[in-house]
Point group: C2
Chain length 350, copies 2
DNA sequence: CACACAAATGTATGCGCATACATTTTGGTC
DNA sequence: GACCAAAATGTATGCGCATACATTTGTGTG
């Protein structure tokens, strides 16, 4: 049936199918678009022809005539860590349920993101961008002239509708938790100007101090490799702290790893908390106290909203914010709960 | 310039641009396709018009005329864990470098994968499927009648070209390593009939025994949630073992977690090893001995090969196998190496 | 300055489908 | 059986682009 892999026979078209079924191309098309409008017997003949010819409609031709690509463009920086994957899974499931495909574009490391974005804009009905802040205004304008655009994570462009997770109040809650443990020399690890999210977390951190003096943030990228450096600053006494609030889990885990390795005890000597609730957070000892974000849901909602925009339903643009959850484990100083308890947040498998 | 977000002006086309630049549509098209064939001055005028109108070519129209979608279809079961993400990143980077998009389809949980696959086949120039084994022969035939198809991970269809990582010999190597540690009651955890990869790992496991009696595999899904159950079988004595070779890291980590939680010491009481080298593997104590796969490279190579198939370069179909690496940490019984040593495999960030 | 030839640009067509509109068939009804 | 509306099907067109082919413009030579 697939005679010579490589010797692909000329692909079937509506014409081929129509001829074989003894009908017109319109009927073939209708069998696929509005089956109920075709008489049972005719429909059956057409379906047989389609099956026999292995007919698959040409997407581009359909898009051109139908005035829709039936595809979403999703732009993410990259895919390391569970964060983006979850987001993507949430997004894809909603898009696919509506019969739309997802065209993925990873922006990090690309030399000409602008060109890639424009090309993308010509192939999809709408674009959701994480990190729209990094896209030149000019490019964004061109994109928006063609398709609706949504942002992921908060951004400065007031006119760009976006979806993000809550940062400030959760950060404040987590910080207060550390203060309640009697910690007094809290240090925020991560550069607030790296991303709006980080800045907001830092703002919550500051807010929780209720006017008490706050140590300046300890600048660091949000990557595993920064952990050693940060930990060494603490170990050498260069940075004084009895609790580290890291901007994400990767950083927190790496810091904690090094601290423990060098003989410190977490949390008795120093508490460490993170942000994201990655899988590792519940496997390390002590379990990492952190903040869980409804990432999958974030993706799903963005997809749903984009679909609305594509099909034309209005609804006013908005800056959507999804709530997060503080996940208490032991790295903050809390005693181990029941064995299973620390796995509470594990329902989103990773 | 984007006046009313929502009041999108009628999109520019080649005609609009041509008119504005005072040239014919052919010239506009040529400016984009073969710039060198257009006189400098004319080209500049056209480019200005394009810029002023925020013109972005209509992908479907281009695809239709150009006889190519300039897109790859990539089908993965899902995206949890670093495995698929890495693969996807490797794939995307190569595809994007060639100016092609990647249309992602996640098969797990979809009720009608067949329909989704067919739709995909109409929108891309080639499809790479992980888990092609689960696709009905009939569907696969239809796909292959339209576009080239590649498999990821080994599969039974001899006629389907595919890319996979090596399993058998690494499994054998890892097993011998456990035997060298003096372990004698090794048990393989995971159902060999779950996937060809698992089967091959089990075969390597068996081969390493050199004819000595081998315990039957302990059936289990390759998921975190199975860990508790498996560990309990060991703890209750129902399964006797001094070393567990788990089919993947998720399983291994969950098993180890429970064992340690119940008071056993890993590795002195029992050794545990996994497969995949996920991030957590190097953060847990003891560090998890496992097998690292060149996943990113796997994706990149598959993309490169698919691109060749799309542009028509032949080269005989082949079953490509990429080598894996045993990563020794402490869960197998080895002493901790230099602090940094256990992080050796960490260069692929996660 | 006439000519040949190359470079630059324009004209016309088809890619494969969806669909508005035209035509034919069907099923009732009196 | 004649007539009419509704159902079923067919015909013709355009979506926006790339490109083969036709035409015009430019360059160099004798």
């Amino acid at each position: 049936m697939a005679p010579e892999p490589g010797t692909r026979s000329p692909r079937a078209t509506v014409y081929t199918v129509a001829e074989r079924a003894g009908v017109s191309v319109a009927t073939v098309s209708r069998v696929l678009q509005e089956p109920h409008r075709v008489k049972e017997a005719t429909r059956a003949r057409v379906l047989v022809a389609i099956d026999e010819l292995d007919y698959v409609p040409h997407g581009a031709a359909r898009s051109l005539a139908y005035h829709r690509h039936e595809a979403h463009g999703l732009v993410l920086p990259e895919l390391s860590g569970p964060y983006y994957s979850e987001l993507l899974m949430g997004y894809e499931s909603v898009a696919a349920a509506a019969g739309y495909s997802v065209v993925l574009l990873l922006s990090e490391g690309k030399d000409d993101v602008g060109a890639a974005l424009r090309r993308l804009a010509g192939k999809v009905d709408g674009i959701v961008i994480m990190g729209a802040a990094d896209v030149p205004e000019r490019t964004l304008t061109a994109l928006r002239a063609r398709v609706p655009v949504l942002g992921l994570t908060r951004n400065d462009r007031a006119d760009l509708e976006s979806f993000a997770t809550e940062n400030r109040s959760s950060a404040e809650e987590l910080t207060r938790h550390l203060l309640d443990h009697g910690r007094r020399r809290l240090v925020f690890v991560g550069s607030p100007d790296l991303a709006i999210d980080v800045r907001e977390r830092y703002e919550g951190f500051v807010a929780a101090h209720d006017g008490r003096p706050v140590a300046p943030p300890l600048p660091a990228d949000l990557r595993e490799t920064e952990g050693g450096r940060v930990a060494d600053l603490v170990l050498s006494g260069e940075v004084e702290a009895d609790a580290l609030m890291c901007a994400n889990d990767e950083l927190a885990l790496a810091v904690m790893d090094r601290l423990v390795d060098r003989g410190l005890d977490v949390p008795s000597d120093i508490a460490v908390v993170g942000w994201d609730d990655v899988m590792t957070a519940r496997y390390v000892r002590p379990g990492l106290t952190t903040v869980a974000q409804p990432v999958r849901d974030l993706g799903a909602r963005a997809a749903a909203r984009m679909h609305d925009l594509i099909v034309g339903s209005t609804g006013d643009p908005d800056q959507h914010t999804l709530p997060t959850t503080v996940v208490i484990r032991q790295s903050c100083g809390c005693p181990p709960a029941g064995t299973e308890a620390q796995h509470t947040a594990a329902d989103t498998k990773e």
